[in-house]
Structure formats: structure tokens, C-alpha cells
């Protein structure tokens, strides 16, 4: 359910007026999301979900209560407000309570695309068909998923703050396997504007990788130069970015904790070619210009030439440490070069190309040591060419170490992942001494 700006404002104003608490913050989120799922060259499920919910948070002194409703008649709104007030009265005082934010100015970000909002069930079926038909013809087997939709966010509070915005997105993934199960390829594409998405050409990437990855040979585990496609690094970077929390670093439990106390703000932690920033208005990956607390997202440099320039402060921690609390970034943008993934392969004497990584888990938060596996297209590179497919590897590697072993970055691409809270624009990376610790027989 998508409310217009004036309808959303009228509803939120009404809710805030209903509250008798010391302060009230309300947010209205609506969405219309459609999906289609296919496997074994056949559509398995599809659905369309309309949803809207209103979150009401009130406070009496330092006691906070939250309630949510999804019916919007006056009686339901009043019931929601009273429930939040009851919970607030029952809750213990929170010594770290922060008052509602003041009126904010949010930067304009371009998050809505008409074409994406207009996706129909017939379009979703055509995407499935565009994948299934060529695979059937080539005796390959497709399994994929398209999730698209529009989401509306509106926030307001008793101090007069207000924000409204609608965003659209479309996320597609498809795995293609050879009929005998010896080869597997993958493609994923996240776009703001569905006119930029061309399933018929995307599916060719996964089909080619499926064919090319058949008959993989085993290489010895060890340290290798790797070329990682952006889909192979997003899961690793997302987990590292969680370590950029100021409080965790100050408390001594982050890779950005300094020996003897304090944090590594201002220190060279990565190779000097590593520069990372967040920008809600980035044209390649625009996001809503506020975070879950209603704090404005701004363009911030997080890492500049390898030096840590930004840590995320909660409002409470910022007050304690006399720092500024900004909105938590919604995207992560990393600088790179102009080369394509295949250009990086061309300049590689010996190495391994990784299409994507899978089942990434934290092994040791002290060093951000992560484990996971390669999947759906892993190839041996020799003298600038993809020589032959290789069996998948398990890796045990830290993104902090990876970003100190940089050979070259390619041209950044927009990429998303179900386990990353950030939309990312990151380059393909050529890195040395990446640690593969064992072989996997999985295809």
C-alpha cells in the first residue's frame, strides 16, 4: 500500500496529536512487492504482497513503548497510541534514553522509477520465460527468483520533524546447472530502473558459466592471487562494515580497537588504494535519506586512501564522546578503476577467478576472519586467460587482510545481497595471497 505524501502527513499528524505522552514519533511504511520463483525449468511460486504498517513510539520520561498497527481507521490509530503508552508505562527506565530528534533537513535522493513501479505479473512471467526457454533449448536447468516492488517511508514526530519518500527496486538472481549436474553458473542483477534490466542477455552469462564450469579440476588449497567479481566480495565487506561502530571499537571489541584502549580513527588500516564512502544521493545506488532513527544520511568518507575517517556513532554514544551522530549509511560506495573483470583477468599471470561466494560466517570477530565457499563459476587463470574450471574452495580470510593485499581494482558495479544491509557499488578486485583452506566437491 503506497500512501501519497499528503495522506501520509495527515495520518502521522493525527497520530501524534492523539498521544498524551511526553513525546511521540511515528513512522508509516507501505509496500507493494511482487515475486516469481522458478526451478527445474518450471515456475514454482509467485506472489504479490501489499503491506503497510504504522509504528508508534512514545516516551514518558526515560520510559519508552512501541506499538504497531496495520489498520488505519481512527479507532485503530487510537488503540495503537494507547498500547504504546501502556508499554511505556510498564517499561523500566532506559539510562541511555535519547529525546526525539529535532526537525531535520533531508537531502533529496532519486529513489523512484516509474517503470519499476509498473511491473506486472505478466512481466514477471516473461522474465521467468526468458530464462527457462533458452535453458531448455540448450539442455540446461534454470532456477531463479525475481523480487520487485515499491516502498514508501514517512516519518514524523512531536518536534515537527517530517520526511516522505518512495523507492523502487528490482532484484534478480538465476542459477543455471548442466543437466548432468557437473556445471553451475550464476548471474545476479539489482537495478533501480527495470528498463536497465535485460533478462535475455543476463541469462546468457549464467548459461555460459554453467557450460564452462563443467568438468572442473582440483587445485591444491593454498594462497592464490584472485580476481573477485563484486558478487563475491559484497558479503565479506558487509560483515567488515559492521566493525565501524564507534562504541564497539571504544569498548575494545572490534578490529578497529586500538591496543591499550581507544579506536583507530585516523589510522592507516588498509592499502592506500582503498577509499570507501557512503552517499544517499549516489546516482548509481540512491537510498532513502534517513536511517531507522530518522537521522539524516549524509555523504561521508569512511575510508580515505586506506585511512579510517569515519565511525558510526549512536546518538547516545555521540553525546558521551562529544561527537556528531549521523544517519547510518544505507549504501557503501568503493572507488575503483576503469577495467572490467575480464581486463583484470587479462593482466593476471596465475590466479583464480571467483564468480560468487556462499555461506559466509564470522570465525573470529577480533580479526574479522570469515569462512565461506566459492560457488557457480570458479576458474583457473594462466597468462591472462581462463584456462579451465576448478573445483570450489573453502576460504578462511579477513577482508581487512584482503584490502591490504590489493593488486588492482576494476570498475565499480551496483550489487546487492540478501545478507548485506547495504546496497553497494564495489569494484571487481584483484588481490594477492587470498587463503583457500580446503577443497569442496560441491557443484
Amino acid at each position: 500500500m503506497i500512501f501519497t505524501e499528503s495522506d501520509a502527513k495527515a495520518l502521522l499528524d493525527k497520530v501524534i496529536k492523539m498521544s498524551k505522552a511526553d513525546q511521540c514519533t511515528a513512522s508509516l511504511n507501505g509496500s507493494t512487492e511482487g515475486n516469481i520463483r522458478f526451478a527445474r525449468n518450471s515456475v514454482s511460486t509467485s506472489g504479490l504482497v501489499h503491506n503497510a504498517e504504522l509504528v508508534i513510539e512514545v516516551a514518558y520520561g526515560k520510559r519508552v513503548g512501541t506499538a504497531t498497527v496495520n489498520q488505519f481507521d481512527d479507532a485503530s490509530l487510537l488503540r495503537g497510541v494507547r498500547r504504546a503508552e501502556e508499554l511505556a508505562k510498564l517499561a523500566p527506565e532506559n539510562p541511555e534514553f535519547m529525546p526525539a530528534i529535532d526537525k531535520q533537513k533531508y537531502v533529496a535522493t532519486d529513489t523512484f522509477r516509474k517503470s519499476t513501479a509498473a511491473i506486472t505479473p505478466a512481466y514477471r512471467a516473461s522474465v521467468a520465460a526468458a530464462c527457462i526457454e533458452p535453458c531448455k533449448k540448450d539442455k540446461l536447468v534454470a532456477a531463479g527468483f525475481l523480487l520487485d516492488g515499491q516502498r514508501m517511508s514517512a516519518i514524523a514526530n512531536s518536534k515537527g520533524n517530517f520526511g516522505y519518500q518512495v523507492e523502487t527496486s528490482s532484484d534478480f538472481t538465476c542459477t543455471v546447472r548442466t543437466a548432468d549436474g557437473t556445471g553451475s553458473g550464476w548471474v545476479g542483477r539489482n537495478v533501480a530502473d527495470v528498463d536497465d534490466f535485460h533478462p535475455s542477455s543476463e541469462i546468457q552469462i549464467a548459461m555460459q558459466k554453467a557450460r564452462d564450469s563443467s568438468g572442473a579440476r582440483a587445485l591444491e588449497p593454498g594462497r592464490y592471487t584472485v580476481v573477485l567479481e563484486p558478487a563475491a566480495t559484497i558479503g565479506l565487506l558487509a560483515r567488515m562494515m559492521n566493525g565501524f561502530d564507534a562504541r564497539q571499537a571504544d569498548e575494545g571489541r572490534s578490529f578497529l580497537t586500538k591496543k591499550g584502549g581507544g579506536n583507530k580513527l585516523g589510522e592507516q588500516v588498509f592499502d592506500e588504494r582503498v577509499s570507501i564512502y557512503a552517499d544517499p544521493a549516489d546516482p548509481a545506488a540512491p537510498v532513502i535519506p534517513w536511517d531507522e532513527d530518522g537521522l539524516p544520511r549524509e555523504k561521508v568518507t569512511i575510508v580515505d586512501k586506506g585511512v579510517v575517517k569515519y565511525l558510526q556513532y549512536s546518538r547516545y554514544w555521540a553525546k558521551l564522546k562529544k561527537q556528531q551522530a549521523l544517519g547510518m549509511p544505507g549504501n557503501i560506495i568503493m572507488l575503483g578503476g576503469d577495467k572490467s573483470t575480464m581486463d583484470l583477468v587479462k593482466s593476471t599471470k596465475k590466479g583464480i577467478l571467483v564468480t560468487r561466494t556462499w555461506y559466509i560466517r564470522m570465525v573470529d570477530p577480533q580479526t574479522v576472519l570469515l569462512t565461506g565457499l566459492t560457488r557457480d563459476g570458479t576458474f583457473y587463470i594462466e597468462n591472462g586467460e581462463l584456462k579451465y574450471p576448478i573445483k570450489n574452495f573453502r576460504f578462511n580470510e579477513s577482508p581487512v587482510i584482503m584490502l591490504n593485499n590489493v593488486e588492482e581494482f576494476g570498475k565499480p558495479e551496483r550489487v546487492s545481497d540478501v545478507e548485506s544491509p547495504f546496497l553497494m557499488v564495489i569494484p571487481p578486485m584483484k588481490l594477492r595471497e587470498f587463503t583457500f583452506s580446503s577443497l569442496s566437491d560441491a557443484v
Binding site: 509504528v55 504497531t68 510498564l90 549436474g181 584502549g261 556462499w358 560466517r361 570465525v363 580479526t367 545478507e419
Partner: protein
């Protein structure tokens, strides 16, 4: 809730805690009420009639009320108390031999009839892409029946203050015992589910689950080192009585650790967690190599889950999860041969949705099939899979095994893992007996980091507590341990399983699968077991 949201909510992430996206937050007293069965039956009949009229050959209706309570704390403060409620109806039909599904939160007859019509329309539209019609294993209608989790104390009726006080007590004890930081959380779930189908079943179920995780962290400022130890409790299909901390639930382990069976002493565990987190800071780092591993049930459940539970799900074997969770090495040809040695003769692994106290224990699954127990691996040989009604014919089965589940009224039900457990050994062997013959080994307690490939061959597991075993004796606590396995080799390296005196459950509250992703809760039972010659790696790294 998406697993991503839980990961952020449960861990100290970059941002603030998320409000769980389960549904409407409600006042505490709402959590103790129920919807009248007669109202649900009437509404279900509206859908069943509408579906039949629109041309569906089968219809099932799930009217669900999903209640959850979260109490989230760290150190000396309660960070969040949230009550959520989600109510609605999911309607699944077969028309033109194809599945269709729609869901609505509108409780009017018109609203439910409209959603039913949508489900039939979706089925008919998708039938164009269907290669063969759905074949459902028969289920005999059971009429009007009910089932409830056998709980002693309904956790939803325990005042929020009592829960917050318990967690504050837990945190205070951990801090006093040497923890620098501590988090403790209470998750409570009550699923009130009504199922009706054109087979003639009207099943009313009241399902309860509880989980109380904690984590204590110790810091050495000088070196910048930090270590955590998570709680050794298990999420259970029980009421608040699980937190009574009765001595009968206490299991003293070799090496000095304490585990728990069907009653958890959270304060005692928090004190131990604080001390052991501190000990981890000074524990020597493991020397990588081959070791005999002795694995406690608080650890082994997760290895069973990943390396047996998932690969024996038939939808994965067939390729329905190929684009996300993956497929399986346990292919149909291996099963058909009747000779595939998944494990050694010591290994019998069974699926069971009837074991009291488990997360997966229900009377009927989400397509009205009575729950049951069956063997997956018998004396080491792969003998069966986990199936639902539309898969049974693939194995030549005449009935479903009752593995169907949806995490919400708004989600379509599909095949989910049953409780999958390692059968205890037949010989009288205790944990001390198991350890006394080990020359060079590691005893692992509690689950840690876990990762497995998309066909479930190569896995890596960490733990919470690691004890070196030399010449039959535990010598000291060690650190930086993870072991890597190839699934069939690992289970074939099993040389012994302790008897049923040591049988305990572990489990997952948020097992993720499907697109869009759904979560499910599942338990895994075992006694302590020994695996010879397993590859252990050292996970310590230096950032310079």
C-alpha cells in the same frame, strides 16, 4: 523475520537494534487470549467453498495468529521489550493441476473469498509453465481435532517484569564474575494455528517455543584482545518452566563445563560464561592437524543440522532450492542403491516431529498430516528423505512424512526440516568412558561458527569451549579451533556414540530457506559422539 534482521538484532551491529518485523506490537495482555474456534471454522469454510466453486480441485486454509515477545538486554539495562502479533489467513489451492496461493489480513467473508479467488487465478495463470500436474499423497480427513505443546507454564502469562528481572540478574552475575560486557535475550513464541482442508480436516493447534541466549565478553585492553562465550542453553518447545533451573537439568561435563537438558539455570551459565571468556584470553592456541574429536550434544546438533538435516530434504535433492540454499550430494541414485554408506555402522539418524520438548514437535504439519518418526540413515546407510504431500510419489511413498511448514499465515507452506537426531548408542558408554581411550583429541562443547557448501559436502565448525585430550585425560582449555569435514567421511569416522543417559537437544530458532526467505525452528538430539582423525585448523590471524 529475515535472518539478516535477526543477525543484526542479536549481535551488536553497526546500527541500532531493529524492531522485529514480525507484525503488530501489542500490549502484554493480548498475548494470553485466543480466537474462538467456531469463528475460525466458519471463515475456513468460506474459503473452502469459494475455492471449490472457482474450480479448484484442492484447497487448504491456514488461519494463523502468531504471537512473539522479545526482551533484549545488555549489561545493566533493558534495551527493548516488544510484543508482536500477526493475524491473517493463507489460502492454498490446486487448479489446473497447479499450486496457487494468496493471503489476507482481512477477516471479513468477502476479504477471504477475494483472496481465495486470487489464489485460484494465480494457479491457473502459472499452469501455463507447469510441466506435470501436482500429485498429492492422500490424507484422510481427521474432522475437528486440537493439539497443544505440553507446557507447564505459559511464558506469555509470566509478567514482563519477572523476565526483565531475571535477565538483569543474569547480567549482574556475569559482570561480577569477570565479564566486561554481557547480552541476554528472551524470545518467546506462540503460534495459534488453525488448518482446514477440502480433505475434511479442521485442526486447531497451540504451539509454544522459548529461547534465552546470552553472551559474555572479556577484554584485555593491553593487548587489544577480546573473547566471548555464548550460553549453553538450547531453544526448546517448552513453556517458561525451561528456565526453572532444576538440578535435574544440570549436566556436569568432563573439564568442568556444565551443560543443560530440559531445565536451564541461566544465572549459573552466565557466571561460567564470564569466567570461561576470561580464560579464553589466555588459553593456548591449537596446533593444527588431525585429532580425534569428542563432540558434546550442545555442539553436535549443528553439525547434524547442516550435514544431515539439510542434505536429506527432498526439495533440495530435486533442485527446487538450487538458486539459493543449494542442492544435495545425497542424490536419488545413492538412495536407490540401498548401499550408500553415509556413515559408519554406529550412525543411525532419524527424523521425528513427535519428541516432546523439541522445536519441531507438533500434532499435525501445515498441510494436515499427522506427525511421525522415521529413519533417514540406518546403521550408516541412507534409507530415506524428508518429504511433503506433493513429493511422496517421487519416492514411491503412499503418504507424506508431515514436514510441511510456513513461518506465517502470509507465507506459502513448503518442505521444512523435521527434528533430525543421532540415535544414542546401544552399549552403556558415558562421556568419561568415551574420553578415556582418546590419545590425541579435542573435546568440544557449544556451537560456534558454521559454514557448509551448497551441496553439503565441505563444512567448517567452531565451538564455544575446546579442551585438549592427551592420553585419555583432559589437560587444558585451548582456543582458535575449527574443524573441516567432508560429510560422508566425517560420519564414517564416527567410532562411538554415548548411551541415552547423555541424550540432549540443541536447535535453531531461525533456520532460513526459500525465496522469499522463511525461518523455521528445529531441534536435533544426540548423545556425545567420537569422530577419529578429523582435520583441525587454527583460526588465529594477525592484522599487524
Amino acid at each position: 523475520m529475515q535472518r539478516r534482521d535477526f543477525l543484526r538484532m542479536g549481535g551488536a551491529g553497526l546500527g541500532a537494534l531493529l524492531l522485529p518485523s514480525y507484525g503488530n506490537a501489542v500490549a502484554a495482555e493480548v498475548l494470553t487470549t485466543k480466537i474462538d474456534v467456531a469463528v475460525k471454522k466458519r471463515l475456513a469454510d468460506v474459503a473452502l467453498n469459494a475455492a471449490t466453486k472457482a474450480g479448484a480441485t484442492y484447497c487448504d486454509v491456514r488461519i494463523g495468529r502468531y504471537l512473539r515477545q522479545f526482551v533484549i538486554t545488555r549489561e545493566n539495562r533493558v534495551e527493548n521489550i516488544v510484543n508482536t502479533e500477526s493475524v491473517g489467513t493463507g489460502i492454498r489451492v490446486i487448479a489446473n493441476g497447479t499450486w496457487g496461493f494468496a493471503a489476507t489480513s482481512d477477516f471479513s467473508d468477502d476479504g477471504v473469498a477475494k483472496a481465495t479467488a486470487e489464489a485460484v487465478a494465480i494457479a491457473k495463470a502459472n499452469s501455463k509453465f507447469q510441466s506435470e500436474p501436482v500429485q498429492l499423497a492422500p490424507v484422510k480427513g481427521v474432522g475437528e481435532v486440537s493439539w497443544a505443546t505440553p507446557i507447564v507454564k505459559n511464558a506469555m502469562q509470566v509478567p514482563v517484569k519477572e523476565k526483565a528481572d531475571l535477565l538483569m540478574d543474569v547480567n549482574n552475575h556475569a559482570l561480577k564474575a569477570g565479564a566486561d560486557f554481557v547480552r541476554s535475550i528472551m524470545f518467546l513464541v506462540n503460534e495459534q494455528k488453525y488448518f482446514a482442508s477440502t480433505d475434511g480436516s479442521y485442526i486447531d493447534q497451540d504451539i509454544h517455543r522459548i529461547w534465552a541466549p546470552l553472551e559474555a565478553t572479556a577484554i584485555d585492553k593491553q593487548s587489544g584482545k577480546f573473547r566471548s562465550r555464548a550460553g549453553l542453553s538450547a531453544p526448546m518447545g517448552m513453556g517458561y518452566e525451561y528456565l526453572d533451573g532444576k538440578p535435574s537439568g544440570r549436566v556436569a561435563l568432563p573439564g568442568g563445563a556444565v551443560a543443560y537438558s530440559n531445565s536451564y539455570n541461566m544465572v549459573e551459565d552466565a557466571v561460567a560464561a564470564a569466567k570461561q571468556a576470561r580464560a579464553k584470553l589466555k588459553a593456548p592456541s591449537v596446533k593444527p592437524g588431525r585429532y580425534d574429536l569428542v563432540l558434546d550434544p550442545s555442539h553436535l546438533w549443528l553439525t547434524i543440522h547442516e550435514s544431515v538435516g539439510h542434505p536429506t530434504e527432498l526439495d533440495r535433492v530435486l533442485g527446487y532450492e538450487a538458486n539459493f540454499a543449494g542442492t544435495s550430494f545425497a542424490t536419488l541414485d545413492k538412495w536407490k542403491s540401498g548401499k550408500f554408506k553415509y556413515g559408519s555402522d554406529e550412525v543411525t539418524i532419524f527424523a521425528d516431529k513427535t519428541q516432546p520438548g523439541t522445536l519441531g514437535c507438533v500434532g499435525y504439519d501445515d498441510e494436515g498430516v499427522k506427525t511421525q518418526r522415521w529413519d533417514l540413515i540406518k546403521d550408516g546407510v541412507l534409507v530415506n528423505y524428508q518429504v511433503i504431500r506433493d513429493q511422496a510419489h517421487i519416492l514411491g511413498l503412499k503418504h507424506s512424512q508431515g514436514c510441511c511448514y510456513a513461518d506465517s499465515w502470509a507465507s506459502v507452506q513448503f518442505q521444512r526440516m523435521a527434528n533430525v537426531s543421532l540415535a544414542p548408542g546401544n552399549k552403556a558408554i558415558g562421556v568419561d568412558d568415551m574420553i578415556k581411550d582418546v590419545e590425541n583429541g579435542i573435546y568440544i562443547v557449544g556451537n560456534g561458527s558454521f559454514s557448509i557448501d551448497q551441496q553439503r559436502y565441505n563444512a567448517q565448525f567452531g565451538g564455544q569451549l575446546f579442551y585438549e585430550i592427551k592420553n585419555g585425560k583432559i589437560t587444558e582449555q585451548i582456543e582458535d579451533v575449527a574443524y573441516q569435514i567432508r560429510t560422508p567421511e566425517f560420519w564414517n569416522a564416527c567410532v562411538g556414540v554415548c548411551d541415552d543417559r547423555d541424550y540432549r537437544f540443541g536447535g535453531s530458532f531461525f533456520d532460513g530457506k526459500g525465496q522469499p526467505e522463511q525461518v523455521s525452528a528445529v531441534s536435533h538430539g544426540s548423545s556425545t559422539a567420537r569422530f577419529n582423525g578429523i582435520n583441525v585448523i587454527n583460526t588465529a590471524r594477525s592484522l599487524g
